[in-house]
């Protein structure tokens, strides 16, 4: 096996996927925030909300386009770089991707044009509908992508077909309502909402510090803090650990995240801190919090959580079982309809472990010829490198809790302290802008690095999933992507900064007209003292 090709393909996928996910969370969250702002505009008729919609909409647009552009790479890279993967699981994995295009991406992309170009061509309500359709489209898009990704973590509703040498769908509903996918969806979308809330909060805080656009900034903070608080709670409470019991490999991921080498009797404790040591197979200086892990992972106090060593032993057993399946498969492929029933029964009994036999392909072409040493090595391959997972997870969780704190604080100030904010809090909000991106990228790292050595958990090893390409091919495209993406990133950041500096477009005529009509309404009805005017800071 050409390891270099596999490693380079992984590197390219990781890089392009993580780059793509710099833009996605902001799209997910900002589309909803903008839609909320426009809803308030349509309900109240106040021009400042229209101004807010347009201003955040402009920033949304700058970000959105790169999310779309880098998403194209994701859609095509499976076929380009992961050809055997595409053949082997395309029957299942392709469906949610195609439905995403049909149901979600068409919706958001068709209407996003009208969002920008339709202000003068549509009625207020018409335009609001368009904005909500963009938000719904982008969120549905995330749903289908995460159904596809969830299937890679927990491949339900599918079975291997010896005739076609691939996995085929047996139940679309199981694929769609995969518990891992559903948990991932809620977690990921909430994380997107938090990202956008922190972004809106930070930029608005900057305006307040600079003492400009404060009418827009204060209202934006109110929206961001209330939306952000709900989302931050949702990210943490509905974290995606709920699916970690689902499969052998998900349990391995959990054990690695925990640095948990030996099986812990129920209820398992949570390792708050420590230094995992892969060689010595122990976690040094660990600080444990009793009961917590059992609750997070199994939602119970009575279930054992298996440790890495036990899971590795289980991998070895499954590899040996997989070899029996492989042997039966070779006969079935040779004899086809003439296959003896006994062989079919063997395949039936061990077919679920076929993927484990493929782990041996790294060491030998025919898994049936594998030595005990190879089998032990392959079993060892199912243990991920522990420390990156251990730390990435902890930083992500710490950030998650910090977001709750930040959002709660700003929510309290905006609701109960008349929307006034101390200077230090505003400075902190500006400084916090990059942190949700860090948390999101770490989250993906834990999910995907933790899934190794598989592309599809227990079904297809990563080393087997690649295309027949040369290392030079990969070097060329990798260099191309790095250069190209760096330039685009610089350009994008430049425009973001430019438009944040420039601030909202001041539609003076509209504001004057609205103020005039509002004053007229108030003077016509002298009794209306509790009108909305009191909410407007006098500036």
């Amino acid at each position: 096996m050409e390891l270099d090709l596999v490693e380079l393909s992984r590197l390219q996928f990781a890089m392009t996927a993580m780059y793509h996910f710099l833009f996605v969370p902001l799209t997910l969250g900002l589309s909803v925030i903008v839609a909320i702002m426009e809803t308030v505009y349509v309900m109240t008729g106040r021009p400042v909300w229209r101004q807010m919609t347009k201003f955040w909409g402009t920033l949304f647009g700058i970000n959105f386009v790169l999310g779309v552009a880098t998403g194209i790479t994701m859609e095509f890279q499976f076929g380009m770089n992961w050809s055997y993967y595409s053949h082997y699981v395309g029957d299942i994995f392709g469906a949610p991707l195609a439905i995403e295009g049909l149901m979600a991406f068409f919706l958001e992309a068709t209407f996003v044009g009208l969002f920008f170009f339709g202000w003068d061509r549509l009625s207020k309500r018409g335009h609001l509908t368009v904005t909500w359709l963009v938000a719904i489209g982008s969120n549905l898009s995330a749903l289908w992508i995460l159904i596809a990704n969830g299937w890679m973590q927990n491949p339900v509703g599918a079975a291997f077909n010896p005739d076609t040498m691939r996995m085929e769908m047996t139940s679309f509903f199981e694929v769609m309502f995969n518990e891992v996918a559903q948990a991932k969806f809620v977690h990921t979308v909430s994380a997107g909402y938090v990202t956008a809330s922190v972004f809106v909060l930070g930029v608005s805080a900057l305006y307040l510090l600079q003492k400009r656009h404060s009418e827009l900034a204060r209202r934006s903070i109110t929206v961001a803090a209330s939306f952000g608080l709900a989302s931050a709670l949702s990210v943490v409470v509905l974290g995606d650990e709920s699916g970690y019991e689902a499969t052998h490999n998900q349990r391995m991921k959990l054990a690695a995240i925990e640095g948990m080498w030996e099986t812990e009797p129920a209820p398992a404790s949570f390792t708050l801190f420590g230094f995992p040591d892969t060689k010595a197979r122990e976690t040094h200086y660990a600080i444990h919090i009793p009961y917590v892990m059992g609750l997070i992972a199994t939602r119970s106090l009575t279930q054992d959580i298996p440790g890495i060593n036990e899971l590795e032993a289980e991998s070895e057993r499954r590899i040996r079982s997989g070899i029996l399946a492989y042997d039966a498969l070779m006969t079935i492929r040779q004899e086809r309809d003439a296959t003896p029933q006994a062989v079919r029964d063997t395949f039936e009994a061990h077919g679920g472990d076929l993927g484990y036999a493929f782990l041996l392909r790294r060491y030998i072409d025919d898994p049936r010829q594998a030595t005990d040493a190879m089998i032990a090595q392959a079993a060892n391959d199912t243990v991920p490198t522990v420390w990156p997972l251990f730390w990435a997870f902890r930083v992500m969780v710490a950030l998650g809790f910090a977001f709750i704190g930040v959002m709660a604080y700003f929510f309290w100030r905006s609701s109960f302290r008349g929307g006034t904010y101390p200077r230090w809090a505003l400075v902190a909000a500006v400084a916090a802008i990059p942190t949700p991106w860090l948390a999101a990228e770490l989250g993906w790292f834990v999910a995907e690095f933790g899934r190794q050595p598989w592309t599809v958990d227990g079904v297809l090893p990563t080393a087997l999933s690649v295309s027949h390409l040369s290392v030079e091919d990969l070097f060329l495209t990798l260099a191309g992507f790095v250069t190209f993406y760096t330039v685009l990133f610089v350009v994008e950041m430049g425009l973001m900064v430019k438009f944040i500096r420039k601030g909202p477009y001041q539609d003076v005529d509209a504001v004057d007209a609205w103020n005039a009509s509002h004053t007229a309404r108030l003077t016509a009805k002298p009794g209306a003292t509790d009108g909305p005017v009191g909410l407007m800071p006098a500036e």
Partner: protein, 387 residues
């Protein structure tokens, strides 16, 4: 799911072969004019305002149009996984070039008018030119190669091995017949872009577009005819050996395939398919006439018909083959041995039947809202919202 038994496997395969065509044609009809407009930009528009008018004719719609391409990729993945796996990895560097162009294009549309510097704007204008012309050319080159057969081989595990490596693989794609197809494809989309500009732009821009479009339209007609002759006498076809099971498992190695004297044998067996190239020629000729006469709506429709005819002629000529192999004919992918499972094809058909009409309906509504010419006054008066 028992439901899927309502439609037999072979019928589903033919339906999905048709839908693959619908998606590719949908892409060419919609995103095709965006690419054409991008590639025409430096030639039809000279001043900044002219360029902004040109760009804004597609400004609100290119994003939705591009989804045809992405959905095309997704649908190939879902319905024809072996095709997705073999072709995208086999055409690796060409695909990378297409990707680069298609990433560049949205960014260029969106960012071009966000700064005033002339250097900034002209750089993005060239980016639009490249990102319109390069994919248009490569798609044609790809079709040319598919017609000749592509050098890949499937192992018994159905792992696809592609002959040659790195640059030689890419250079191999650039053979004379494929380049001719590339020129036809580029000229066809330029003409389509010109027809769009003639409808949506005014004055000088529209006039220049018509002049250029009339020329590229002629190039398309001549090139398409030449390619047809070449195909008749210079390119071998493919056929199954013996009877083929049309509802068997999707394993290309279960079938035997041989080379035949020419693809055009298909026209003797199924004469009715001649309708496709006839419509292709008719549409293109009428589009050229329309561009010369300055007709607007009808010209765009004729151009669409021309594209429809040309693309379907390729599919119908090759049927049931989708991606023949030049070095291992039995590895060739066909409608009968390269689809998804019965179940998946059915589920995807249900999704398509539900959502495709919705997509068409709201797309039509969006085009109606945006109906009318893009004027210089509109562009300069709305700099905050338009490109």
């Amino acid at each position: 799911m028992i439901l899927s038994e309502f439609i037999s496997y072979d019928v589903l395969r033919v339906i999905w072969w048709g839908l693959l065509g619908v998606l590719l044609i949908g892409f060419a009809l919609t995103d095709g004019f965006d690419m054409g407009v991008g590639a025409l930009l430096p030639f039809v528009a000279h001043t900044d305002v002219e360029r902004r008018v040109t760009i804004n004719t597609v400004g609100p719609v290119w994003e939705g149009n591009q989804v045809w391409f992405i959905l095309g990729g997704g649908a190939i993945f879902a319905a024809w996984p072996p095709l997705y796996a073999v072709s995208f990895s086999g055409f690796y560097l060409a695909m990378f070039a297409v990707l680069a162009a298609l990433i560049l294009r949205p960014v260029a549309f969106k960012y071009r008018s966000k700064r005033d510097r002339a250097g900034w704007r002209s750089s993005w204008d060239w980016a639009l030119f490249v990102s319109g012309a390069v994919p248009a050319l490569i798609f044609g080159v790809a079709v040319g190669n598919v017609l000749q057969g592509v050098p890949f081989e499937l192992t018994p595990d159905l792992f696809s091995l592609y002959e040659g490596s790195f640059i030689s693989k890419f250079i191999g794609l650039l053979n004379p017949f494929a380049l001719l197809c590339g020129v036809v494809s580029l000229a066809m989309l330029l003409t389509h872009g010109a027809a769009w500009l003639s409808l949506k732009a005014e004055g000088t821009v529209a006039q220049r577009a018509r002049r250029i479009g009339a020329v590229t339209g002629l190039v398309t007609i001549v090139g398409y005819a030449l390619a047809g002759v070449w195909l008749a006498f210079g390119v071998k076809g493919y056929a199954f050996v013996g009877d083929v099971v049309t509802d068997g498992p999707s394993n290309p190695l279960y079938t035997e395939v041989e080379r035949t004297s020419s693809w055009l044998v298909a026209y003797a067996e199924r004469p009715w398919i001649a309708i496709a190239p006839i419509l292709g020629f008719l549409g293109m000729v009428m589009a050229v006439k329309g561009l010369r006469a300055g007709r607007e709506v009808s010209t765009l429709l004729w151009s669409k018909l021309g594209i429809f005819g040309a693309i379907s002629s390729v599919g119908l000529t090759m049927f049931p083959f989708i991606l023949p192999s030049s070095i291992s004919p039995r590895s060739s992918l066909s409608v009968w041995d390269s689809s998804s499972s019965h179940q998946t094809l059915f589920v995807m058909l249900v999704a398509t039947v539900i959502f495709m009409p919705l997509v068409l309906a709201y797309t039509a509504w969006v085009y109606r809202v945006l109906w009318g010419k893009v004027t210089e006054a509109e562009v300069t008066g709305n700099s905050e919202t338009v490109y």
